[in-house]
Point group: C2
Chain length 167, copies 2
Amino acid sequence: MSTYTNTTSAFSTAQDEAEIRRLIEAWSAAVSARDLDGIAANYQPDTLLFDAIPPYKTIGRDAIRQAWANCLPFFPEQFRLERRDLTIQVAGDTAFAHFLIHFLPVPADDPCGQTWMRVTSGFRRIQGAWKVLHEHVSVPFNPMNSQVWFIRNPDVVDIPDYGNACT
Amino acid sequence: MSTYTNTTSAFSTAQDEAEIRRLIEAWSAAVSARDLDGIAANYQPDTLLFDAIPPYKTIGRDAIRQAWANCLPFFPEQFRLERRDLTIQVAGDTAFAHFLIHFLPVPADDPCGQTWMRVTSGFRRIQGAWKVLHEHVSVPFNPMNSQVWFIRNPDVVDIPDYGNACT
């Protein structure tokens, strides 16, 4: 729960936060179940996705659904999505959330499970229902060698050897 | 301007959007001017940054300011920050925005200018003023070779050769 006080007392913050949390949980469950309609359920025709892998942007529910349809066959037969560090900020008709996700594959050493990813979602209440207008998923990269910097354990906040740069 | 209708007509959406836009422009100007206090002005003690380079998270205004203090000496003497594709969603006391940024260095071939970056910001109105509670900056990576996938021209939405995977 946020510790910030709202300007307008009319915001039903607790209920909105619970609804957004349910929406995020439903999305995670849909990914784990390879349920394309469930994955795409809360995107809009103009939702903008900045995904962890190229293309750098994907626009619209249909295109995002298609990206998942193309990728899911290359996931191992069994996997589920793990989530942690969820924070939701909502006070009004726009909201955002951030959290970390991780694929838990079987077998455990499948490449899809090699990193946690950072996720930021932007929400809007449209005709009474919360919808996802924006999603940003990423892993940082090491500027010293242009390689992705996997987040193997979110409790370890490590950095590359930057030498004299950016330490 | 957003095309969505607000539930609560009391939201002064146009004014809020203008204020958030000014805040983003002030931050860009502060980066270009190497003005650390300006860069950090609108972060909070609990602001969470997911930056493009490790560490994967940085928490709090002081730590974010320090990260910039460490990095700025390694930028070329002259550069400025370019921005495009800004969208702001605000209706209430929480809001989010997304846009692309790019360093324009002198000389133009300095490595800091080699990619555009995707930015998502989460805002909250605190004691009447908009503050940045969250920032997510990233470039995608190519899962085929774990290399960063630079966004050299945002008008070109290209993808790696995925072979049989994720195309």
